[in-house]
């Protein structure tokens, strides 16, 4: 499956699509990036007068690129419009803030894909190559 086809199959749209481009994907992992537009709605309130990307949004970016995109690749033709997916667990450590207009890269490595559940070791880096957050995320077909 082509990288563009994976993105077109994602079950998200604006304002909740957090994948710009996939840089690499194979059966063991995926790498992709996303740039935070300064006009994104949550910056108005997180925090008041001091916009910083919320950790839950960073987690979502990691889940969409690192688990959902990889899952679509692994499922191939079995993934269609009727497939319902769910986040099942995550454990993330946050090391550095991500500000508006920053571009991040997500690198995900498959831990296992069994019985419809995909668990990955995921890391996010900023443009300087610094790790901003990392951990494990799992999701499954429900």
């Amino acid at each position: 499956m082509k990288k563009e086809d994976i993105i077109s199959k994602l079950p998200y749209s604006k304002p909740f699509l957090f994948v710009d481009e996939l840089l690499h994907v194979d059966e063991n992992g995926v790498e992709g990036c996303y740039a935070f537009d300064e006009n994104l709605d949550f910056y108005k309130g997180h925090f008041k007068g001091n916009p910083i990307t919320p950790g839950v949004i960073l987690t979502e970016v990691m889940a969409q690129i690192g688990v959902v995109c990889l899952g679509i690749y692994l499922l191939n033709d079995t993934f269609n419009k009727n497939t319902t997916i769910a986040l099942t667990s995550n454990e993330i450590e946050f090391s550095k803030p991500v500000f508006p207009n920053e571009k991040v890269t997500v690198i995900s490595e498959k831990i296992y894909f069994r019985f419809g559940k995909l668990k990955c070791k995921v890391e996010m880096k900023n443009e300087k190559g610094e790790v901003v957050c990392s951990g494990t995320i799992a999701g499954m077909i429900v």
Binding site: T88, R114, F115
Partner: protein
């Protein structure tokens, strides 16, 4: 491997995933992973993977779907061990 030993091993495996302590303490062959121990379906996958590791067996999709309680888990483990 006797039944008691297998139950004890299964008890250790499910421990991190259970949500019902009372059902866990009173575990028997009849204990259901989801209804009694309240293990969610995502964590049930981890239980199966931990069983594979503990007993050094491979559990296929069909067996996984049958593995709903301690009794069926013990049966499947026994079958898989005998096939080795």
């Amino acid at each position: 491997m006797d039944k008691k030993e297998t139950i004890e091993k299964l008890k250790n495996i499910v421990k991190p995933y259970i949500k019902n302590q009372e059902a866990f303490e009173n575990i028997t062959e009849k204990t259901d992973f989801i209804a009694d121990l309240q293990i969610n379906s995502a964590n049930l996958v981890d239980v199966i993977l931990d069983i594979e590791e503990e007993f050094d067996i491979i559990i296929d999709n069909q067996s996984m779907e049958r593995m709903l309680d301690i009794k069926s888990a013990m049966e499947i483990i026994e079958i898989k061990l005998s096939e080795k």
